[in-house]
């Protein structure tokens, strides 16, 4: 069989890992016993095709790791302690992260009561936490070991967190969740947008514009402005502001207000964030033109 030696090495590695969990006096014997089965599995004439034999051999080798965890020995106790500590840490991390989600979204909901996204995440977080606490309580009530309760909680957190994470990415991609945007840009997306407070000076307006530019946002599942066009225009504005603009390249507030960018179906800059930045730039340029 092609690659037999390599497969055997992988199998022997897995068996070696399993043997390490066993007590010293049985380790060597178990390794020899299990390793001797590997070539026999790979050459088993009853199993066809060869790929199936290879898969069976690897499954056999991996299964020995599980078997050693069940073996009565000191190593089992050590492995159980390690797994328990790991599980407890994972539970703590999950609980803290879900708690953080609930707290930050509560703050967001207070700041922006019209936005539905924070309420959605608060509800999801509370359901996650209560469901997992219920699992732990159920296991403990049945008189099971705390390890089983912790394992149940981790599994529950895991089951919730993966779809939550995917959903959060989707909400951001379609532009519903804008929690990673600066406050000035995010304000533009609330269902009832409140006009940003006008900057008092040109420098303040330019600073607001630069802050927003630093958070340009790629709209992954929606049309957006072509990034090259926007970057080039912003570079021209910056050159004008730093007095490096070439004659004929100088940008005025009227130019900023009149500019039109090409669009792409996906992956372009979020149009509303760019427009927000341009409004600040236009404001800054207009104020600079008026000042002596």
């Amino acid at each position: 069989m092609r690659g037999e030696r390599r497969l055997l090495r992988v199998g022997e590695y897995l068996i070696g890992r399993a043997s390490r969990l066993l007590p010293r006096q049985t380790r060597e014997e178990r390794y020899r016993e299990w390793a001797a089965e590997l070539p026999a599995i790979l050459r088993d004439p009853d199993t066809r095709p060869a790929a199936r034999r290879a898969a069976r051999m690897l499954r056999y080798a991996a299964g020995t790791i599980r078997g050693t965890a069940l073996a009565p020995s000191n190593a089992r106790v050590r492995a159980t302690v390690i797994v328990t500590v790991f599980m407890a840490l994972m539970t703590a991390v999950f609980a803290v992260s879900i708690g953080t989600v609930v707290v930050t979204n509560t703050i967001s909901a207070v700041d922006d009561p019209g936005n539905w996204v924070p309420y959605f995440w608060i509800t999801t977080g509370v359901v996650n936490l209560s469901w997992s606490c219920r699992t732990v309580a159920r296991h403990l009530r049945r008189g099971e070991r705390p390890m089983a309760a912790v394992r149940g909680a981790v599994l529950d957190f895991g089951v919730w967190i993966i779809p939550d994470w995917l959903l959060s990415r989707l909400l951001r991609a379609v532009g519903a969740d804008r929690s990673d945007l600066p406050a000035t840009a995010a304000a533009a997306y609330s269902p009832a947008p409140t006009p940003a407070a006008p900057a008092a000076t040109a420098e303040q307006a330019v600073s607001l514009a630069r802050d927003t530019v630093g958070h340009f946002y790629r709209a992954r599942l929606r049309p957006g402005y072509r990034t090259a066009d926007v970057d080039e225009f912003v570079a021209r504005i910056e050159a004008t502001l730093t007095a490096d603009g070439l004659p004929g390249q100088v940008v005025t507030a009227a130019d900023v207000e009149a500019v039109k960018f090409g669009t792409t179906r996906r992956g372009g800059y979020d149009e509303m964030v760019v427009d927000q930045a341009l409004d600040h730039y236009a404001d800054g340029l207009a104020k600079r033109a008026l000042s002596p």
Partner: protein
């Protein structure tokens, strides 16, 4: 007795005189290595199973470990399996739904 233990004992009792190696038992009992070996270890501790290393047939070939039931193991296995079978035959069958149109 668990179903997995029952399967292992039945595999041994197919021919109690023939020593069986691990992979052979796995195939016969339809168990995974992670389930079979701890069980063999427990049976060995209870002196129901004995193991021995084979003499390699060819140079460079690793010797395999063979397991077989001890005399006591054969007796206990037969007794336990008979007990299980008797228990199953005594268990009341599930009350099926009457065939539509049948009396009662």
């Amino acid at each position: 007795m668990t179903v997995t233990l029952e399967r292992v004992l039945r595999a041994f009792l197919d021919d109690p005189a023939v020593p069986r190696y691990g992979y052979d038992l796995m195939k016969a009992a339809g168990l995974k290595s992670g389930t079979l070996y701890p069980m063999l270890g427990r049976l060995e501790d209870d002196r129901l199973v004995t193991s021995a290393w084979e003499t390699p047939q060819r140079d460079g070939e690793r010797p395999r470990k063979y397991y077989r039931l001890t005399g006591e193991g054969v007796r206990v296995a037969r007794l336990e399996l008979a007990h299980v079978s008797a228990g199953r035959s005594r268990a009341p069958g599930r009350q099926g739904r009457p065939v539509p149109g049948s009396p009662g």
